[in-house]
């Protein structure tokens, strides 16, 4: 209750301070001796201040010495090589899986024409199940749902 009250009193007090005409005082007091009165909303003042005075050392270009630059280049090349190896391994695996599938379908055609026709038809392929979950960093709290029963 107190907090709310103080908030309102402050809120009403602020415009009064802001509205005090500065010119009246200048006639009485010398201007260079005048104390600078902080005016306006302190939050707005803070935003203005930090926009105009960003943190120290702001423009910090990353400067590398010769050996540092060489090291950076080496790390970059190693990373590219690593990515390439991973990508190629993945592509080769997919290719092997595709080849197995194609060979199976070819073999099926020579063995049973009816089964082949049904296999390559796009009928009743079904939809993607929403129950499949994506990988997470840690396992679920209750573990695998082994108690699932077909209703």
């Amino acid at each position: 209750m107190n907090r709310i009250a103080s908030f309102f009193t402050r809120a009403t007090a602020r415009p009064v301070v802001a509205a005090t005409p500065a010119k009246q005082t200048t006639t009485l007091v010398r201007s260079y001796a005048k104390k600078v009165v902080q005016q306006g909303d302190p939050r707005v003042r803070m935003i203005r201040y930090f926009l105009n005075h960003p943190a120290e050392h702001t423009p910090r270009p990353l400067k590398f010495g010769t050996l540092r630059a060489l090291r950076h280049w080496t790390i970059h090349r190693a990373w590219q090589l690593f990515r390439k190896q991973q990508r190629e391994a993945r592509e080769k695996e997919l290719e092997r899986q595709y080849n197995k599938m194609r060979d199976a379908v070819e073999a099926l055609k020579t063995v049973d024409e009816r089964l082949y026709r049904i296999a390559i038809s796009k009928k009743e392929v079904g939809t993607f199940p929403i129950e499949l979950r994506i990988p997470t960093d840690t396992p679920p709290r209750n573990g695998w749902n082994a108690g699932w029963k077909r209703s």
Binding site: R96, T138, A146
Partner: protein
Amino acid sequence: MNAGIRSSRPLGMLLKQHLRQLPRCFATSATSAEASTDVPTASVNPYRVATSVVLSRPPMLTQELHPFEESFYFYQRRLNQRLALPFTRYFYIKKGTPADMEWKRKQKAAGGYTGFGESAWKDELKVKDNDQKEPDFGYKRLVKTTITGEDENLELNENGELPEGGKSRFEMPLSRITEADKKKDYRSLDRRGDRTLYFLVKSKGNAGPTWKFPVSPIAGRENLKEGAIRTLEQAAGVNMNTWFVGNVPIGHYTNPFGPEYPAPAEGLTAEKVFFMKARIMAGQANLENNLLGLEDFMWLTKEEIEEFAGDQYYKAVQHMLASQ
């Protein structure tokens, strides 16, 4: 008419035209030869078609990072710290408040490296500096440095610890290595969360490496997918939530009939096994009252299949399995 046109052309053109026609000649002769040999055999099929289920559990956990990836990401993080604008602390946090103290404590616990000032260049890890590796995903650091009002409301025992079953706001994330991993429980689906697990079964009374994917011959007029669904139900019961991926077989395997594996009928030389892919989403296998004469099952990774299934079978199936 054609002869007249051809005769007016040079010899090279003639040869070219002739060559272009050649494949067509071969094609016609080849099809006629195939037809003459295939027609009689098509009536008596020497193969028995069987369908097999490659039931797999996809990875539950994200992949473990390669050590090189880990150090590269750390290097990139430090470079970013050196390049990014420093945090304007007093804009967000008032000096001397609890929030300020918390922020300072978190900065200290995070290792104390700043990407600016005198020591900005010292962005490498020192020897034995393992602060950056957090197996608990930063949980302990977070709990230690974060102020919550609820600490006072916790019902602690006399040792100042949370009693069993007591609740805290921050729940410790579970370890990636589960109980099933420690016990080497091959029947559990909680094991090897970062890998694809495959469902393999063992038949009764067979010696040697007999672990295989469940398999049974096609019955009646069913197609491969229907056969695979039936095979799985006969082998492991209905209490598994599965999804069969497409109608196309993902691989095949020829199993010749012989003295060890006698042919069920006259004229059959081999069994052609076609593998159908399926995913499990919930449930567990149950071999009670199975119709295929199975005695045991396991959930195995690709490398473990090589170990349990034997060389010959593994070579037939290895390229259709995922390495992750």
